[in-house]
Symmetry: C2
Subunit: 207 residues, 2 copies
Protein backbone atom coordinates (compact mmCIF):
# COMPACT_ATOMS: atom_id res chain seq x y z
CA UNK A 1 0.00 0.00 0.00
CA UNK A 2 1.88 3.04 -1.24
CA UNK A 3 -0.98 5.53 -1.46
CA UNK A 4 -1.75 7.26 1.80
CA UNK A 5 -5.17 6.78 3.39
CA UNK A 6 -7.28 9.85 4.31
CA UNK A 7 -6.55 11.51 7.68
CA UNK A 8 -9.89 10.59 9.18
CA UNK A 9 -9.60 6.93 8.15
CA UNK A 10 -6.23 6.65 9.88
CA UNK A 11 -7.73 8.22 12.99
CA UNK A 12 -10.54 5.68 13.03
CA UNK A 13 -8.23 2.73 12.37
CA UNK A 14 -6.19 3.76 15.39
CA UNK A 15 -9.40 3.94 17.44
CA UNK A 16 -10.62 0.55 16.15
CA UNK A 17 -7.37 -1.06 17.20
CA UNK A 18 -7.55 0.44 20.66
CA UNK A 19 -11.15 -0.78 21.07
CA UNK A 20 -10.27 -4.23 19.67
CA UNK A 21 -7.36 -4.69 22.07
CA UNK A 22 -9.73 -4.03 24.97
CA UNK A 23 -12.29 -6.37 23.46
CA UNK A 24 -9.71 -9.14 23.02
CA UNK A 25 -8.57 -8.68 26.62
CA UNK A 26 -12.14 -9.48 27.68
CA UNK A 27 -11.74 -12.93 26.06
CA UNK A 28 -13.76 -12.47 22.88
CA UNK A 29 -12.31 -13.47 19.50
CA UNK A 30 -14.87 -12.34 16.93
CA UNK A 31 -16.69 -9.06 16.48
CA UNK A 32 -19.31 -7.68 14.09
CA UNK A 33 -19.05 -4.28 12.44
CA UNK A 34 -22.07 -3.02 14.37
CA UNK A 35 -20.36 -3.95 17.63
CA UNK A 36 -17.24 -1.97 16.69
CA UNK A 37 -19.55 0.86 15.64
CA UNK A 38 -21.25 0.82 19.06
CA UNK A 39 -17.93 0.93 20.88
CA UNK A 40 -16.94 4.07 18.97
CA UNK A 41 -20.33 5.74 18.50
CA UNK A 42 -20.20 5.73 14.71
CA UNK A 43 -22.21 3.83 12.07
CA UNK A 44 -21.61 0.20 11.08
CA UNK A 45 -21.51 1.32 7.45
CA UNK A 46 -18.52 3.54 8.26
CA UNK A 47 -16.74 0.67 10.01
CA UNK A 48 -17.32 -1.73 7.12
CA UNK A 49 -16.15 0.86 4.59
CA UNK A 50 -12.92 1.56 6.48
CA UNK A 51 -12.12 -2.12 6.94
CA UNK A 52 -12.86 -2.90 3.32
CA UNK A 53 -10.50 -0.07 2.37
CA UNK A 54 -7.61 -1.87 4.08
CA UNK A 55 -8.51 -5.07 2.26
CA UNK A 56 -9.95 -7.13 5.10
CA UNK A 57 -13.27 -8.96 5.22
CA UNK A 58 -15.03 -10.83 7.96
CA UNK A 59 -17.58 -13.61 7.65
CA UNK A 60 -21.35 -13.17 7.76
CA UNK A 61 -21.77 -15.64 10.61
CA UNK A 62 -18.86 -14.71 12.86
CA UNK A 63 -17.92 -11.19 11.85
CA UNK A 64 -14.26 -10.16 11.99
CA UNK A 65 -11.48 -12.18 13.61
CA UNK A 66 -10.31 -9.71 16.26
CA UNK A 67 -6.65 -10.78 16.30
CA UNK A 68 -6.34 -10.75 12.54
CA UNK A 69 -7.94 -7.35 12.32
CA UNK A 70 -5.60 -5.92 14.98
CA UNK A 71 -2.62 -7.31 13.04
CA UNK A 72 -3.77 -5.91 9.74
CA UNK A 73 -4.42 -2.46 11.17
CA UNK A 74 -0.93 -2.59 12.71
CA UNK A 75 0.62 -3.47 9.36
CA UNK A 76 -1.10 -0.48 7.78
CA UNK A 77 -0.58 2.24 10.34
CA UNK A 78 2.56 1.20 12.23
CA UNK A 79 6.07 1.60 10.97
CA UNK A 80 7.82 -1.79 10.84
CA UNK A 81 10.63 -0.82 13.17
CA UNK A 82 8.69 1.59 15.32
CA UNK A 83 9.18 5.33 15.44
CA UNK A 84 10.87 7.48 18.01
CA UNK A 85 9.21 10.51 19.55
CA UNK A 86 10.57 13.50 21.47
CA UNK A 87 8.60 15.77 23.80
CA UNK A 88 9.77 19.37 24.04
CA UNK A 89 8.57 21.24 27.12
CA UNK A 90 8.17 19.27 30.33
CA UNK A 91 5.49 21.30 32.03
CA UNK A 92 2.24 19.70 33.19
CA UNK A 93 1.14 18.97 29.64
CA UNK A 94 4.45 17.44 28.57
CA UNK A 95 4.44 15.23 31.64
CA UNK A 96 0.81 14.25 31.05
CA UNK A 97 1.70 13.11 27.54
CA UNK A 98 4.66 11.08 28.73
CA UNK A 99 2.57 9.46 31.45
CA UNK A 100 -0.12 8.56 28.91
CA UNK A 101 2.36 6.54 26.89
CA UNK A 102 4.41 4.88 29.59
CA UNK A 103 3.66 1.17 29.69
CA UNK A 104 1.43 1.29 26.61
CA UNK A 105 2.35 -1.31 24.00
CA UNK A 106 2.76 0.78 20.90
CA UNK A 107 5.21 1.17 18.05
CA UNK A 108 5.72 4.73 19.15
CA UNK A 109 8.41 5.24 21.72
CA UNK A 110 9.00 8.51 23.48
CA UNK A 111 12.78 8.33 23.90
CA UNK A 112 13.74 11.89 24.82
CA UNK A 113 12.34 14.94 26.56
CA UNK A 114 13.70 18.48 26.38
CA UNK A 115 13.40 21.52 28.59
CA UNK A 116 15.43 24.61 29.47
CA UNK A 117 14.69 24.55 33.19
CA UNK A 118 17.89 23.43 35.00
CA UNK A 119 15.74 21.73 37.66
CA UNK A 120 14.29 19.43 35.01
CA UNK A 121 17.33 18.80 32.81
CA UNK A 122 19.15 15.51 33.50
CA UNK A 123 16.20 14.08 35.38
CA UNK A 124 14.06 11.09 34.32
CA UNK A 125 10.31 11.50 33.76
CA UNK A 126 8.14 8.37 33.30
CA UNK A 127 11.32 6.54 32.36
CA UNK A 128 12.36 9.14 29.79
CA UNK A 129 15.55 11.23 30.11
CA UNK A 130 15.16 15.02 29.98
CA UNK A 131 17.90 16.93 28.14
CA UNK A 132 18.57 20.64 27.75
CA UNK A 133 17.16 22.19 24.55
CA UNK A 134 20.77 22.88 23.52
CA UNK A 135 21.15 19.13 22.95
CA UNK A 136 18.03 18.93 20.78
CA UNK A 137 19.70 18.70 17.37
CA UNK A 138 22.34 16.19 18.42
CA UNK A 139 19.97 13.87 20.24
CA UNK A 140 17.35 13.90 17.50
CA UNK A 141 19.91 13.11 14.84
CA UNK A 142 21.78 10.48 16.84
CA UNK A 143 18.64 8.72 18.07
CA UNK A 144 16.86 8.94 14.71
CA UNK A 145 13.79 10.60 16.23
CA UNK A 146 11.18 11.43 13.56
CA UNK A 147 8.24 12.85 15.55
CA UNK A 148 8.08 15.66 18.10
CA UNK A 149 5.45 16.91 20.50
CA UNK A 150 5.70 20.63 21.26
CA UNK A 151 4.34 21.47 24.69
CA UNK A 152 6.19 24.71 25.41
CA UNK A 153 4.56 28.12 26.07
CA UNK A 154 3.34 29.89 22.91
CA UNK A 155 6.21 32.38 22.72
CA UNK A 156 8.81 29.61 22.34
CA UNK A 157 6.92 27.37 19.94
CA UNK A 158 8.18 28.86 16.69
CA UNK A 159 11.86 28.67 17.62
CA UNK A 160 11.47 25.11 18.91
CA UNK A 161 9.71 24.07 15.69
CA UNK A 162 12.52 25.59 13.59
CA UNK A 163 15.17 23.72 15.55
CA UNK A 164 13.20 20.47 15.31
CA UNK A 165 12.82 20.75 11.55
CA UNK A 166 16.50 21.59 11.09
CA UNK A 167 17.30 18.49 13.13
CA UNK A 168 15.27 16.38 10.70
CA UNK A 169 11.90 15.95 12.44
CA UNK A 170 9.17 14.87 9.99
CA UNK A 171 6.02 15.14 12.09
CA UNK A 172 4.98 17.66 14.76
CA UNK A 173 2.08 17.80 17.17
CA UNK A 174 1.73 21.36 18.40
CA UNK A 175 0.07 21.68 21.81
CA UNK A 176 1.22 25.26 22.26
CA UNK A 177 -1.40 27.96 21.73
CA UNK A 178 0.63 29.47 18.84
CA UNK A 179 -0.23 28.16 15.35
CA UNK A 180 2.89 27.08 13.43
CA UNK A 181 4.13 27.39 9.90
CA UNK A 182 6.02 24.33 8.66
CA UNK A 183 7.43 23.33 5.27
CA UNK A 184 5.28 20.96 3.25
CA UNK A 185 7.49 17.91 3.90
CA UNK A 186 6.65 18.14 7.61
CA UNK A 187 3.28 16.80 8.80
CA UNK A 188 1.75 19.18 11.35
CA UNK A 189 -1.11 18.41 13.70
CA UNK A 190 -2.32 21.46 15.60
CA UNK A 191 -4.12 21.20 18.88
CA UNK A 192 -5.69 23.98 20.88
CA UNK A 193 -7.57 23.47 24.12
CA UNK A 194 -9.23 26.91 24.08
CA UNK A 195 -10.80 26.30 20.66
CA UNK A 196 -11.99 22.87 21.75
CA UNK A 197 -13.68 24.36 24.80
CA UNK A 198 -15.17 27.28 22.86
CA UNK A 199 -16.69 24.84 20.41
CA UNK A 200 -18.33 22.79 23.16
CA UNK A 201 -19.52 26.02 24.79
CA UNK A 202 -21.17 27.14 21.57
CA UNK A 203 -23.17 23.94 21.24
CA UNK A 204 -24.13 24.02 24.89
CA UNK A 205 -25.33 27.61 25.13
CA UNK A 206 -29.01 28.38 24.88
CA UNK A 207 -29.98 29.61 21.41
CA UNK B 1 -29.31 33.37 14.79
CA UNK B 2 -31.16 30.34 16.11
CA UNK B 3 -29.80 27.67 13.79
CA UNK B 4 -26.50 26.20 14.90
CA UNK B 5 -23.43 26.59 12.69
CA UNK B 6 -21.44 23.51 11.61
CA UNK B 7 -18.81 22.17 14.07
CA UNK B 8 -15.88 23.04 11.85
CA UNK B 9 -17.08 26.61 11.26
CA UNK B 10 -17.30 27.23 14.99
CA UNK B 11 -13.79 25.84 15.41
CA UNK B 12 -12.46 28.21 12.76
CA UNK B 13 -14.34 31.23 14.17
CA UNK B 14 -12.70 30.57 17.52
CA UNK B 15 -9.31 30.39 15.78
CA UNK B 16 -9.97 33.58 13.78
CA UNK B 17 -10.77 35.44 16.96
CA UNK B 18 -7.59 34.24 18.64
CA UNK B 19 -5.51 35.29 15.65
CA UNK B 20 -7.32 38.64 15.39
CA UNK B 21 -6.72 39.46 19.05
CA UNK B 22 -2.98 38.92 18.49
CA UNK B 23 -3.13 40.98 15.33
CA UNK B 24 -4.92 43.84 17.10
CA UNK B 25 -2.35 43.75 19.89
CA UNK B 26 0.31 44.45 17.25
CA UNK B 27 -1.45 47.76 16.51
CA UNK B 28 -3.18 46.92 13.21
CA UNK B 29 -6.85 47.70 12.71
CA UNK B 30 -7.75 46.22 9.33
CA UNK B 31 -7.09 42.82 7.82
CA UNK B 32 -7.77 41.09 4.50
CA UNK B 33 -9.17 37.58 4.21
CA UNK B 34 -5.92 36.32 2.67
CA UNK B 35 -4.01 37.63 5.69
CA UNK B 36 -6.30 35.75 8.10
CA UNK B 37 -5.90 32.72 5.83
CA UNK B 38 -2.10 32.96 6.08
CA UNK B 39 -2.19 33.18 9.85
CA UNK B 40 -4.20 29.95 10.04
CA UNK B 41 -2.81 28.08 7.05
CA UNK B 42 -6.15 27.77 5.28
CA UNK B 43 -7.52 29.31 2.07
CA UNK B 44 -8.85 32.87 1.73
CA UNK B 45 -12.00 31.45 0.13
CA UNK B 46 -12.69 29.47 3.31
CA UNK B 47 -12.19 32.58 5.45
CA UNK B 48 -14.54 34.69 3.30
CA UNK B 49 -17.18 31.96 3.29
CA UNK B 50 -17.12 31.62 7.09
CA UNK B 51 -17.29 35.35 7.67
CA UNK B 52 -20.10 35.78 5.16
CA UNK B 53 -21.96 33.01 6.99
CA UNK B 54 -22.01 35.11 10.17
CA UNK B 55 -23.28 38.09 8.20
CA UNK B 56 -20.20 40.30 8.18
CA UNK B 57 -18.53 41.97 5.21
CA UNK B 58 -15.35 43.96 4.87
CA UNK B 59 -14.48 46.55 2.23
CA UNK B 60 -12.47 45.88 -0.90
CA UNK B 61 -9.93 48.58 -0.07
CA UNK B 62 -9.39 48.00 3.62
CA UNK B 63 -10.55 44.47 4.26
CA UNK B 64 -12.22 43.67 7.59
CA UNK B 65 -12.32 45.97 10.60
CA UNK B 66 -10.50 43.81 13.16
CA UNK B 67 -12.34 45.09 16.25
CA UNK B 68 -15.75 44.75 14.63
CA UNK B 69 -14.99 41.23 13.46
CA UNK B 70 -13.79 40.20 16.93
CA UNK B 71 -17.03 41.58 18.42
CA UNK B 72 -19.23 39.83 15.91
CA UNK B 73 -17.51 36.48 16.39
CA UNK B 74 -17.94 36.93 20.12
CA UNK B 75 -21.67 37.61 19.71
CA UNK B 76 -22.03 34.42 17.72
CA UNK B 77 -19.96 31.96 19.71
CA UNK B 78 -19.96 33.32 23.25
CA UNK B 79 -22.77 33.01 25.68
CA UNK B 80 -23.94 36.47 26.81
CA UNK B 81 -23.32 35.86 30.50
CA UNK B 82 -20.37 33.53 30.13
CA UNK B 83 -20.35 29.84 30.94
CA UNK B 84 -18.89 28.00 33.88
CA UNK B 85 -16.58 25.04 33.49
CA UNK B 86 -15.47 22.29 35.88
CA UNK B 87 -12.35 20.14 35.55
CA UNK B 88 -12.58 16.63 37.00
CA UNK B 89 -9.22 14.96 37.68
CA UNK B 90 -6.33 17.18 38.78
CA UNK B 91 -3.41 15.15 37.47
CA UNK B 92 -0.85 16.69 35.12
CA UNK B 93 -3.38 17.06 32.35
CA UNK B 94 -6.06 18.66 34.52
CA UNK B 95 -3.52 21.12 35.86
CA UNK B 96 -2.23 21.88 32.35
CA UNK B 97 -5.77 22.73 31.25
CA UNK B 98 -6.34 25.00 34.22
CA UNK B 99 -3.01 26.73 33.62
CA UNK B 100 -3.88 27.27 29.97
CA UNK B 101 -6.96 29.25 30.91
CA UNK B 102 -5.75 31.24 33.87
CA UNK B 103 -5.43 34.88 32.94
CA UNK B 104 -6.99 34.39 29.49
CA UNK B 105 -9.82 36.80 28.77
CA UNK B 106 -12.60 34.49 27.75
CA UNK B 107 -16.28 34.02 28.45
CA UNK B 108 -15.42 30.57 29.77
CA UNK B 109 -14.55 30.41 33.42
CA UNK B 110 -13.18 27.34 35.11
CA UNK B 111 -14.73 27.75 38.53
CA UNK B 112 -14.26 24.35 40.14
CA UNK B 113 -11.91 21.38 40.07
CA UNK B 114 -12.59 17.92 41.47
CA UNK B 115 -10.40 15.05 42.58
CA UNK B 116 -10.52 12.17 45.06
CA UNK B 117 -6.94 12.50 46.27
CA UNK B 118 -7.05 13.93 49.83
CA UNK B 119 -3.76 15.74 49.16
CA UNK B 120 -5.42 17.73 46.38
CA UNK B 121 -8.87 18.32 47.84
CA UNK B 122 -9.35 21.74 49.47
CA UNK B 123 -6.30 23.17 47.74
CA UNK B 124 -6.27 25.94 45.11
CA UNK B 125 -4.84 25.31 41.62
CA UNK B 126 -4.27 28.25 39.26
CA UNK B 127 -6.78 30.17 41.36
CA UNK B 128 -9.41 27.42 41.20
CA UNK B 129 -10.64 25.54 44.29
CA UNK B 130 -10.39 21.75 44.23
CA UNK B 131 -13.27 19.83 45.82
CA UNK B 132 -13.77 16.12 46.54
CA UNK B 133 -15.74 14.25 43.85
CA UNK B 134 -18.44 13.66 46.49
CA UNK B 135 -19.28 17.35 46.21
CA UNK B 136 -19.60 17.23 42.43
CA UNK B 137 -23.38 17.24 42.12
CA UNK B 138 -23.93 19.96 44.72
CA UNK B 139 -21.25 22.31 43.39
CA UNK B 140 -22.30 21.90 39.76
CA UNK B 141 -25.93 22.61 40.56
CA UNK B 142 -25.26 25.48 42.94
CA UNK B 143 -22.69 27.17 40.71
CA UNK B 144 -24.69 26.59 37.50
CA UNK B 145 -21.75 24.90 35.77
CA UNK B 146 -22.70 23.72 32.27
CA UNK B 147 -19.42 22.31 30.85
CA UNK B 148 -17.01 19.73 32.25
CA UNK B 149 -13.55 18.56 31.30
CA UNK B 150 -12.86 14.92 32.21
CA UNK B 151 -9.17 14.32 32.84
CA UNK B 152 -9.33 11.24 35.08
CA UNK B 153 -7.78 7.83 34.29
CA UNK B 154 -9.80 5.74 31.82
CA UNK B 155 -11.30 3.39 34.40
CA UNK B 156 -13.07 6.24 36.21
CA UNK B 157 -14.28 8.19 33.18
CA UNK B 158 -17.66 6.49 32.76
CA UNK B 159 -18.71 6.93 36.38
CA UNK B 160 -17.59 10.57 36.38
CA UNK B 161 -19.52 11.25 33.16
CA UNK B 162 -22.68 9.70 34.67
CA UNK B 163 -22.41 11.86 37.76
CA UNK B 164 -21.77 14.97 35.66
CA UNK B 165 -24.80 14.35 33.47
CA UNK B 166 -27.03 13.65 36.49
CA UNK B 167 -25.81 16.96 37.93
CA UNK B 168 -26.99 18.76 34.78
CA UNK B 169 -23.80 19.16 32.72
CA UNK B 170 -24.60 19.88 29.05
CA UNK B 171 -21.16 19.62 27.42
CA UNK B 172 -18.21 17.30 28.08
CA UNK B 173 -14.66 17.22 26.80
CA UNK B 174 -13.26 13.77 27.43
CA UNK B 175 -9.47 13.66 27.75
CA UNK B 176 -9.49 10.17 29.26
CA UNK B 177 -8.49 7.31 26.97
CA UNK B 178 -11.93 5.69 27.41
CA UNK B 179 -14.58 6.64 24.80
CA UNK B 180 -17.85 7.70 26.43
CA UNK B 181 -21.51 7.15 25.76
CA UNK B 182 -23.68 10.19 26.49
CA UNK B 183 -27.36 10.97 25.92
CA UNK B 184 -28.13 13.06 22.85
CA UNK B 185 -28.83 16.26 24.81
CA UNK B 186 -25.20 16.31 25.96
CA UNK B 187 -22.52 17.56 23.54
CA UNK B 188 -19.45 15.33 23.72
CA UNK B 189 -16.00 16.15 22.36
CA UNK B 190 -13.59 13.21 22.53
CA UNK B 191 -9.87 13.67 22.64
CA UNK B 192 -7.20 10.99 22.52
CA UNK B 193 -3.48 11.68 22.48
CA UNK B 194 -2.50 8.18 21.32
CA UNK B 195 -4.68 8.39 18.21
CA UNK B 196 -3.33 11.86 17.43
CA UNK B 197 0.25 10.56 17.64
CA UNK B 198 -0.53 7.42 15.64
CA UNK B 199 -2.00 9.56 12.89
CA UNK B 200 1.08 11.76 12.67
CA UNK B 201 3.27 8.64 12.74
CA UNK B 202 1.38 7.15 9.81
CA UNK B 203 1.94 10.21 7.64
CA UNK B 204 5.58 10.41 8.65
CA UNK B 205 6.59 6.79 8.05
CA UNK B 206 8.28 5.85 4.84
CA UNK B 207 5.85 4.26 2.38
Amino acid sequence: MTKKLPDKTVERLSQYRRALLNYLASGKHHIFSHEIANLLHITAVQVRRDIMLIGYTGTLRQGYDVKELIDIIGKIIDSRDGQKVAVVGIGNLGRAIMGYFSGKRTKLNIVAAFDTNPEKVNKIYAGIPCYHNEMLKDIIKNEGISIAVISVPGEYAEKVAEDLILAGIKGIINFSPKPLNVPSHVYLQEFDIVTMLEKVAYFVKKA
